[in-house]
């Protein structure tokens, strides 16, 4: 029961995707079925496939904001092979950079089953001069007016993290955030203070749930007390924290309300909650089952069901 007629210009039924087996570019269709919208595609070599992309209200067709293209002025690549093979960004991209990520280490002090960043110790960290050149490249490509997130790996394993933050601030970036599991923030009481002093604006804290069952399942160790200590140390140094749960159906989707309440109890230093439904990178010999995905309207509905915060207050991004 595809209802293509109902799709607006801003939200056409047809799009494009890639084959999960050979990365060939494929035509794809958003097909409405009784239980949700599926992305349907077929590879000439690897056959048909479909994946759930939207379950429930609000209607997917309403979840868009018509806007004029606002791509970057400077492109480091040309359109040759077509999206997504020309990234750099290419002239066909429709949005400038809002947040630029820098991966400043491959090392990590946690080894999580759901992580898509590498955690090998074999690769040397980029030196400060290299990172300075990266900041310069971002400034050149974006004009400088973007936010920065330092990521990895786990960026706090670097002892020179305060210098990396200070360098970015000196080079004119207005907002620098560190993406972290919080282990070091919890273990070293003055670490948050050193980051704050260096100019850090915000901690993007991995925070999957409010009890150790969730942490054990997703990260392989008990982390509840560690997260609380990390937040307390950030509070002591007046550092903003954003809680970032990776949502996995059946593991922590029942704690969406508890996580928001935990955040509100720790307001104003906890500035918000930023949910990230699990996605599947890396080796997956079999397609992830649709039941292993939680789509955006399901997150909104769960927020309403578990907190009373109403779904109608949510908006698509501008």
């Amino acid at each position: 029961m595809t209802t293509e007629k109902e799709y607006s210009f801003a939200f056409p039924a047809h799009t494009q995707s890639l084959c999960p087996y050979c990365l060939k570019k494929l035509s794809a269709t958003r097909v409405e079925k009784i239980d949700g919208v599926y992305l349907v595609k077929e590879c000439p070599e690897h056959g048909p496939m479909e994946t759930i992309i939207w379950r429930g209200e609000p209607d997917m067709k309403t979840w868009t904001r018509g806007k004029t293209p606002a791509g970057p002025e400077i492109h480091s690549s040309a359109v040759e092979k077509g999206c997504p093979f020309d990234c750099g960004l290419c002239p066909d991209h429709r949005q400038r950079t809002c947040t630029a990520l820098l991966e400043i280490t491959w090392r990590c002090n946690l080894h999580c089953p759901v992580c898509f960043a590498d955690s090998g110790d074999a690769v040397a960290d980029p030196g400060l001069n290299r990172i300075r050149a990266w900041y310069e490249e971002i400034r050149h490509l974006t004009g400088g007016g973007c936010n920065i997130q330092l990521s990895g790996g786990e960026p706090t394993v670097r002892d020179d993290l305060p210098q990396i933050i200070a360098m970015g601030k000196e080079m004119g970036f207005g907002f620098i955030q560190v993406n972290t599991n919080g282990l070091r923030l919890a273990e070293e009481a003055d670490f948050a203070g050193r980051l704050k002093e260096a100019g850090l604006d915000s901690v993007f804290l991995q925070f999957d749930g409010v009890d150790d069952n969730v942490h054990l399942e997703l990260r392989g160790r008990k982390l509840a007390a560690i997260k609380e200590r990390a937040i307390a140390n950030c509070r002591s140094h007046n550092l903003g924290v954003v809680l970032v749960p990776t949502l996995v159906p059946g593991v922590n989707d029942h704690q969406i309300g508890d996580i928001i309440r935990f955040g509100l109890e720790n307001c104003p230093h906890v500035r918000g909650v930023h949910f990230q439904p699990v996605s599947y990178f890396g080796r997956y010999p079999k397609p992830p089952a649709d039941k292993d995905r939680i789509t955006l309207p399901q997150v909104i509905q769960a927020v309403e069901d578990q907190t009373g915060i109403r779904a109608v207050h949510f908006r698509p991004p501008g």
């Binding site: 056409p12 500035r271 996605s279």
Partner: protein, 152 residues
Amino acid sequence: MPDGELKPLTRHQPGAELENGHKGASKTIEFTARQWASPLVKENEYQHHTETGHSEKQEPENTVQPTPAFTLQSMASASPGAGQPLDLDMFLSRLKTHMFSISCMAFQDVWNLDLERVRDCCIHVLSPEGGLIPFCMYNLTDVQGRSLYRKQ
């Protein structure tokens, strides 16, 4: 609010007209930088709150998210209008300090990848080889774990 009540601050009203993408991007950048940064609270002020054990909250404003097509933002609200009339000064002061955002970013993988969404992505990874790569494309792999962009 000091009594724990949440007020929704969602401002954006959907309309039929095309919005200016450049303005939208600037607003997203500014909102994120303001909302996610350290609170504008003086030391003694927040200690007072902590000691009194109030859960103070307030909801955030429209929202923003750093992302392309499917993000939500919102702010919360519980029961609007409960209690006494709102003190405007108090409201404005809470707005500065206790705005709380709820947002969501649906990353894409090779299975649910929609290239129309990719072109609207505004979260980009700086590749060590040069260039800014949309986050999902930088992390995308095939079923064998082979990357489209990330050097293994």
